[in-house]
């Protein structure tokens, strides 16, 4: 058991999650906040442990199944940070709906664990197991709101389609394994480079793997679950699904396709180009037709996945780092948007329709401002962070020679700006339907403010994250 210390964050996280699970058993209903604080504490300590690895730490553990490298530590830190922020926003929402049992937190922790494993995986099996750990937690979290029929339906759909996608992914992996004789990504890469023997089998498997990945990301045409699940799930779970897992999915793409199958990049860039173009078009067009804000954000997610894939189309370190930047910034921008929705969903009322946003500025100025910043950033207006993310992705894709994709992306961003601006207009200029004030806890306000500020500040100083992203793929 060499290099076990590399996995300290995961090992700590495992023990901490189990501890939360057990401690929760002995808590009376009134002491549920203990579970919350324990959860946040475990995430925070894990974050510190992970952050300690950012920089030079690199190596593999568990016979090569687990790896720490420049990318993994950074992405895991962001995943944890976003999870912490997510739980801050979530706390009151789930308490109101009586789903704030220990299970919610524990499943959330296990999901984060799954994401961390995906990010640090170094072999096909690890990726798959990490993915399943995350997926299973997500299915359960969606279904946890048992008193709500929509949530149950969403969970059902998510589960069945997710199982189908997992099956395809697994099938693809088995083909790759069959063609190269190894589960280890580095060995696979080497086998494909040195001999041509397994390449057809690997390419065949690649198709299925891409389908699996596209489903997890929600790229068109494997996106059908996204709007239904985003809409049906409790908003807190939607927040969870739409933020950190995108970063993990990005890591999974890098692991599988860059670490393992980069030899086949001429094949997968074409597939990604198609998926990206479709996602951009369908996502943005359908978002316009939505009256339900959660569905709108779902389609917006689909369009952003298109952007994320654009960076991958470039198939060079510049593109990967642009995509990485995109994934990270998208995750925390969406976090802010859903955070505001959670603030609005009070007293048993759900803020789901666009109308619920109208006049928000007069009801809660901070929330409205943060929402505005988040939406403008998602629309890609300078100087917010979303602009820089889009720009760097477009730059990568143009320098790789896919000008037509860049043109589609730009046109669709303009279309997309429409629905974001519509929401902003409603918040600031329309009269509120319900003019009561929307109070929020101090810690929620503080987190919202920091979150909104991050979107602005990192837009003005994108170099802070971009440098890290570039370093992750340098050399």
């Amino acid at each position: 058991m060499d290099n076990l210390h590399l996995a300290t964050p995961e090992i700590f996280m495992l023990f901490a999650s189990c501890a939360v699970l057990v401690v929760d058993l002995f808590l009376k209903p009134g002491q549920r906040h203990m579970t919350y604080w324990l959860t946040q504490g475990s995430l925070l300590i894990t974050l510190l442990l992970t952050y300690g690895q950012v920089g030079d730490t690199a190596g593999t553990a568990f016979s090569g199944a687990y790896t720490v490298d420049g990318m993994s530590a950074v992405l895991k830190s962001w995943i944890l940070l976003i999870a912490i922020g997510g739980f801050v926003y979530t706390r009151d929402y789930i308490k109101d709906r009586e789903i704030a049992n220990g299970e919610y937190y524990v499943l959330g922790l296990f999901g984060v664990m799954g994401m961390m494993i995906m990010t640090s995986s170094n072999n096909l099996l690890t990726i798959y197991l990490g993915l399943e750990l995350l997926a299973l937690s997500l299915y359960a979290m969606v279904a946890l709101y048992r008193s709500n029929a929509d949530a149950s339906e969403a969970a059902m759909k998510y589960f069945v389609l997710g199982a189908l996608a997992s099956g395809m992914l697994l099938y693809g992996m088995s083909m790759v394994y069959g063609s190269t004789g190894s589960l280890d990504l580095a060995t696979i890469s080497q086998a494909l480079t040195t001999s041509d023997a397994g390449s057809t089998g690997a390419r065949f498997g690649l198709t299925f793997i891409i389908v699996g990945l596209a489903f997890k990301l929600g790229a068109v045409p494997f996106h059908m679950w996204v709007p239904d699940v985003y809409d049906g799930a409790p908003t807190s779970v939607t927040l969870y699904i739409s933020t950190a897992p995108k970063i993990a999915a990005f890591a999974m793409i890098i692991r599988l396709l860059v670490d393992g199958l980069e030899v086949l990049s001429s094949d997968w860039t074409l597939m990604f180009a198609i998926l990206a173009a479709l996602s951009l078009v369908v996502g943005n067009l359908l978002a316009i037709a939505q009256q339900n804000i959660k569905r709108m954000l779902a389609y917006s997610t689909i369009s952003h996945v298109g952007f994320l894939l654009l960076g991958m189309v470039a198939a060079n370190p510049e593109g990967y780092s642009a995509s990485m930047f995109y994934a990270i910034t998208y995750a925390f921008t969406t976090l802010a948007a859903f955070g505001v929705l959670l603030v609005l969903s009070r007293n048993g009322e759900e803020a789901v329709m666009l109308d619920d946003l109208s006049g928000l500025f007069r009801r809660n100025a901070l929330a409205a401002t943060v929402m505005m910043v988040a939406l403008i950033s998602l629309a890609g207006v300078p100087p917010l962070v979303g602009f820089y993310a889009k720009l760097s992705v477009l730059k990568a894709v143009i320098s790789a020679g896919y000008v037509w994709l860049a043109v589609i992306a730009v046109i669709m961003s303009v279309v997309g700006a429409f629905y974001y601006l519509r929401a902003i207009k409603m918040m600031f200029f329309d009269d509120p339907v319900d003019s009561s004030e929307v109070p929020a806890r101090m810690d929620v306000n503080a987190t919202l403010a920091v979150n909104g500020l991050a979107v602005v500040v990192l837009g003005i100083f994108p170099g802070w994250i971009m440098a890290v992203c570039v370093r992750a793929f340098a050399g």
Partner: protein, 201 residues
């Protein structure tokens, strides 16, 4: 054709037939039984590949446990399958079309041209005293320890999720607490009230 190959084809044909019947028979109990047959023949084929442990596990776990559970559920719930089959005919042509295209593509790919068997030489036969189980065990607790642990974690998530989703603690349920019942004292139940005597009127 060696005897082994003959056996393989027998089991393979049965398996494909059974698998097809699983989705074509009308009665769900029959379908479940065909699924058992599919698993069973699959186990037999694994046996031919010298994967004894996996073959036995497949029979034990899937046939012995999972399918029995399945049958219980199917029989107890008495599912009316007719509505589920609505539209079956309507979508059948499309389904057949898509299925056959995919089948053809896979055939096209997996033929000799792209998958020459010389690229995939058969592994050398193991000595007679080679223990499949022991090897699996060794790998599982050394090279694949991480995966083993994560798989365990996944099972735990499944348990947590299953319990959280199905256990209902209804607020209006009344149940006895023997411990408290035993500890009851006289004072809890009996109240002696002193009253003034009443005069006869």
């Amino acid at each position: 054709m060696s005897f082994q190959l003959f056996i393989f084809y027998v089991f393979a044909i049965i398996m494909v037939f059974a698998a097809a019947r699983v989705i074509t028979v009308r009665n769900p109990v029959y379908a479940a039984m065909f699924l058992v047959l599919t698993f069973f023949t699959a186990a037999a084929i694994w046996m031919l590949l010298e994967a004894e442990f996996l073959a036995v596990t497949l029979v034990l776990v899937y046939v012995g446990a999972v399918m029995v559970l399945f049958l219980f559920v199917v029989m107890m719930l008495d599912i009316n399958v007719e509505p589920l089959r609505e539209g079956f005919v309507k979508y059948l042509p499309v389904g057949i079309l898509v299925g056959s295209i995919m089948f053809l593509e896979m055939v096209f790919l997996l033929t000799q041209r792209y998958f020459p068997s010389e690229n995939f030489p058969a592994p050398a036969a193991k000595p007679a005293n080679y223990s499949n189980t022991e090897e699996l065990g060794r790998l599982l607790y050394s090279d694949y320890l991480f995966h083993f642990e994560v798989a365990a974690l996944i099972l735990m998530v499944a348990i947590v999720a299953a319990i959280a989703l199905t256990m209902r603690r209804r607020s209006d349920t009344k149940y006895q607490r023997p411990g408290l019942q035993v500890q009851v004292k006289k004072e809890d139940r009996l109240r002696v009230v002193s009253m003034d005597t009443e005069s006869k009127s």
